[in-house]
Symmetry: C2
Subunit: 282 residues, 2 copies
């Protein structure tokens, strides 16, 4: 069964009643979990995604304001954010892409409101932006480690909703994805990193400390998603123990966003026949 479509990807959107524990990270809704089916369903849309991104970028270059796309990727360590970035953007024109990663805030970043560094990292018009972690760290980590008061975290949920609302109103399609993995899958991934010297650089002993707070993180994710999933900027909880499945879903969501922009090739703002004549005589 390889008839995955945008409808199945959209069905992963969640509302404010979301119950993370009820979503099986190992499931592959809308398709069999076989890598062959997933590859086929991914390959089916790759050209269209690439063409639409070129069209989007062409509009930017032509001086239009076609809007843009922002993909926000969140997930526990080893949930596949880096791989999702790479695979989602494969085949796209790198000049029309903007990637931002958000690590522990610097001293300068901490001296500003938490959305300051996010604002600076937004994609411009005509560009597909992708966040590897995001402003959601500032409610997730802050809740789990009690780095902010409960009141401050409540303020932030609303600030995020308002911020994203403004982005949507100014022409951004926001795709918020939680790469939802199981605790057991994370363990396998961490062991794999440790057993392969070529993956040691991806491992950080702090990852295990965070892992010990697994349940707290799940709660923090659930509440953050409940508070910030909206009609215009919904959260998608994507089962991600099957990484190719998760990457495929992100690609379909990107396709959905690009299609919704109703893009057309920019009209020539010059006399085409006259220019052809000029070129031929040159």
């Amino acid at each position: 069964m390889s008839h995955f479509s945008i409808a199945e990807a959209r069905a992963l959107a969640v509302g404010p009643e979301v119950d993370l524990a009820a979503i099986d990270p190992a499931s592959t809704p809308g398709i069999s979990g076989s890598s062959k089916d997933i590859e086929k369903a991914t390959a089916k849309i790759e050209d269209e995604v690439a063409d639409l991104q070129e069209l989007l970028y062409a509009n930017k270059r032509a001086g239009n304001d076609p809007g843009n796309v922002l993909i926000v990727l969140q997930g526990m360590d080893t949930s596949g954010k880096g791989g999702a970035v790479k695979h989602t953007l494969a085949g796209l024109d790198p000049q029309g892409i903007h990637i931002a990663s958000f690590g522990v805030p610097t001293e300068e970043e901490k001296s500003h409101d938490f959305l300051w560094r996010v604002e600076k990292a937004l994609p411009e018009a005509g560009v597909v932006g992708i966040f590897d972690r995001s402003h959601y760290e500032d409610v997730l980590v802050h809740r789990v480690h009690q780095l902010s008061s409960a009141e401050e975290i409540e303020r932030r949920y609303q600030a995020i909703v308002d911020f994203e609302q403004r982005l949507v109103e100014s022409g951004t399609r926001i795709i918020k994805v939680m790469l939802h993995i199981s605790k057991e899958f994370q363990k396998e991934n961490l062991i794999e990193r440790l057993e392969n010297p070529e993956k040691h650089w991806k491992y950080n002993p702090g990852d295990v400390n965070e892992r010990q707070l697994w349940d707290d993180y799940q709660t923090a994710y659930e509440i953050a998603i409940q508070r910030t999933t909206t009609d215009q900027a919904p959260w998608y909880v994507v089962p991600s123990d099957n990484k190719p499945y998760a990457r495929m879903v992100v690609k379909y969501l990107l396709l959905d966003a690009l299609r919704s922009m109703d893009l057309h090739w920019p009209e020539a703002d010059f006399d085409v026949a006259a220019e052809l004549e000029r070129v031929r005589n040159s």
Copy 2:
């Protein structure tokens, strides 16, 4: 004959005596011009380039200073700079890539020395940077359109040599590529853009004005290359009427740079066995 190798790519480096007119833009030194052979020679190194870039990026992430790579692409309109960016970076991890395009300078940029905006666009350690046009515009366009005095342009050649020397000394591998096309090939490309409405956005009537200054640009390129090709940051004049050939060459030059960095997987700065135990018990 598909035995293209790094040696053939290096052979395209030019010295201060370079004579552009003597280099045939339609030639494909080191390989037959057949697309099959070129595809094969390109495919042969793609995995290694991707692996080495991952290794480079891994070192950055591990907090090492592995140096970086800067590819500077110059060429007349339609010489394939955008396509070279896309194809050179295909398959690489987008998080370890930095692209900068240099258009007409803004008022703010003009109020600084010409290298100011370039400095800001340099890739960080561990990253492969690519410039679509560069600081060379500030000697090429300025010479052709007499936007600067002859003295100022002479000053700039030397400033560029000093600037690039500093970059090399601080660990950057600089690959300077002129995508060398013929005037006839440019005509074909411009006509193709005009005949295809999906390519109109790539066309600018100003392109024909510049085309009318073709010989002046060739002279400006030749002098700029003569003045700035050095042992440590040589210019490569890459025949580019055959676009797949030119892209292949850039990929080989990138491979050469990456290999020269003598990269190794970062050592774990933690006790691997102890961490495995911690993960297994978590």
